[in-house]
């Protein structure tokens, strides 16, 4: 590996001993010998298998649930419905005071997305659990559903989630997260060119090779050991403690070995119900998503829509940027209010723009709840912003890389959300990219610096 030590040489002690050196991964020997213990590699005598009965409708009222046939199915040990869950309505981010609680562990009176968990069946074998789940009878009254964010925000749209009472997340700043910096309209008025474009993305599934799941063992000391592939151990433990109304000291979580996560395993979905099953039956419980569940049920990256309007000068300076961002949370919040909020801080991009106006909405629809995925809230925004940057450069007939040098943020610049820029390295990255990609730029850009004033 080649390390370029000329960048930041004057502000860094050159004492890198580990960076640039290959070091063996500590977990690789386990992987190549098949010894690494993933959660599903734990097998316990008497272990039960949990299967979910899921909603076939995008939006429906539940008139009644009849589990009597399922309970009689050979091998079935327990059938759970909403009334069995001590604290059935929860939301993951309540741990950091981001409410309201808006999601049911098992549906209670209503389903809000196709695939929502309604009834949990625990049986001696996977097959028995599957067969019994097919015998649960749920009587639904289908309701009108909404799948498009802009439709959901119109007056008269079907209300997705009563816990919010409106189809968007209500921030303390109102119906959206807002950033106001300078005077964007004055900026547009003084611009040589205006470019407005909208960008849209679909939900993206992480598709980890190992599906989501956990194995729970009731221990002799009245505690429960939960082997899980969650990416969020303490979030999961604390939320399980709330949902089960059980002190966290009764829960022992074992994890850290995740067969691919990419953000798809940060929601608290399988553990609480599996622990409840173990508690009510006194037996180990395994709840593992099928591949179909992993693709259809686990949260994807949110669909997003980003509308960007820029005012640009002929000399390359962007002088005004107005962005409206929409994040499709699906039926429940999970991590999406946070994703939309991240977008608000991020949309100016790594550029210094004197007049900025941003609104980001977290919208509820009857789609699969979305959540975290690698840079959620910013990745789609970056796609939109950088396509927009190329278009702006083309509009004024400027090289797209030189255009970015002109607008790049530097140490000391005030960002639109009032954080002064510190430790910027965009200019240096672009200088290196220019060399590596053999995309030359004018000498004055190669002489620029993120942190030396005037350079």
């Amino acid at each position: 590996m080649e390390l370029r030590k000329n960048y930041f040489a004057d502000v860094r002690k050159d004492d890198l001993h580990e960076v640039g050196q290959p070091r063996p991964r500590s977990d690789s020997p386990g992987h190549v010998t098949g010894k690494t213990a993933f959660f599903a590699d734990r097998n316990f005598p008497g272990m039960l298998h949990l299967k979910m009965v899921r909603s076939p409708h995008h939006h429906a009222r539940i008139r009644s649930i009849d589990t009597s046939e399922a309970e009689k199915h050979p091998g079935v040990v327990k059938v759970l419905t909403a009334k069995d869950v001590p604290h059935n309505v929860y939301t993951i981010l309540i741990l950091i005071q981001i409410g309201p609680e808006d999601e049911t562990v098992l549906a209670d009176g209503k389903v809000r997305w196709k695939g929502e968990a309604v009834v949990a069946v625990l049986a001696e074998t996977e097959r028995a659990a599957q067969e019994a789940a097919a015998k649960v009878k749920v009587d639904y009254e289908v309701l009108p559903a909404v799948f498009d964010m802009e439709e959901a925000l119109k007056p008269g749209a079907p209300l997705v989630n009563e816990y919010h009472g409106r189809n968007y997340y209500l921030y303390d700043s109102g119906e959206c997260r807002k950033v106001r910096f300078g005077d964007v309209e004055a900026g547009f008025a003084g611009a040589d060119h205006i470019l407005e474009q909208s960008y849209q993305s679909s939900p993206i599934e992480h598709a980890p090779t190992e599906t989501t799941g956990c194995v729970v063992v009731p221990e002799g000391n009245d505690r429960f050991t939960c082997y899980t592939n969650t990416q969020a151990m303490f979030f999961t433990l604390d939320n399980a403690s709330i949902i089960l109304q059980m002190p966290g000291s009764k829960l022992h979580f074992v994890g850290g070995t995740v067969g691919g996560g990419f953000g798809g395993k940060v929601d608290v979905i399988v553990e609480p119900i599996a622990i409840l099953g173990a508690k009510l039956t006194g037996r180990p419980v395994s709840f593992i998503y099928s591949r179909e569940e992993e693709m259809q049920i686990s949260s994807p990256r949110a669909a997003e829509k980003v509308v960007i309007k820029d005012g640009v000068m002929k000399d390359g300076r962007i002088i005004a940027r107005k962005v409206t961002g929409y994040t499709d949370a699906g039926a429940y919040s999970r991590h999406s209010p946070y994703g939309a909020q991240k977008g608000a801080g991020h949309y100016p991009g790594p550029y210094t723009i004197p007049n900025v106006w941003i609104d980001t909405y977290c919208v509820y629809t009857n789609r699969t709840p979305s959540s975290a995925m690698r840079g959620f809230g910013v990745t789609i925004g970056d796609f939109a912003l950088e396509v927009q940057m190329d278009r702006l450069a083309r509009l004024i007939g400027m090289d797209p890389l030189e255009f970015r040098f002109i607008n790049a943020y530097r140490d000391g610049d005030m960002k639109a959300h009032r954080q002064p820029t510190e430790g910027a390295a965009l200019i240096e990255c672009m200088q290196e990219a220019s060399r590596a990609a053999n995309w030359p730029v004018a000498e004055k850009y190669m002489a620029m610096s993120s942190y030396v004033k005037g350079a």
Partner: protein, 160 residues
Amino acid sequence: MAKVPVQFTLNGSEKAEFIDSGTTLLNALRDKVGDTSPKGGCHQGTCGACSVIIDGELRLSCLTLAETCNGTAITTTSGLAEGGVLQPLQRAFLDTFATQCGFCTPGMIMAAKVLLDHTPNPSRDEVVEALSGNICRCTGYEPIIQAVLTAARANSQNAA
């Protein structure tokens, strides 16, 4: 449910189990025999994480009924290292950073082993073809391809 006897060798040792008829080899190995090195990523023949070697041929254990394996010799990744010493293929996966989460690794190693057993000096295209039934969501495949080519070189040096 009536039980069916099955008997095979697993990594050289004799195994005999009574299983439910219809049990996949993947579940029999993992839940009955206790070899959890084959992984279940899809249980429908699409990911390759469950790959094992049966009588020298690469097989998806999730699509193989255990009762059809009577009298066969089965190899899994857990049986490769002898006396704790890694085989060149395992060593190469380690050295080229061909594992990240590691969930696909045992299946990848099985597919690579069958390739190298039949074709000791494969071309890059042959490696890609041999691994095409195995999904890896983490590495982007390139380090895995390099691992197999590296192992092939190491094998031929050892043979020379």
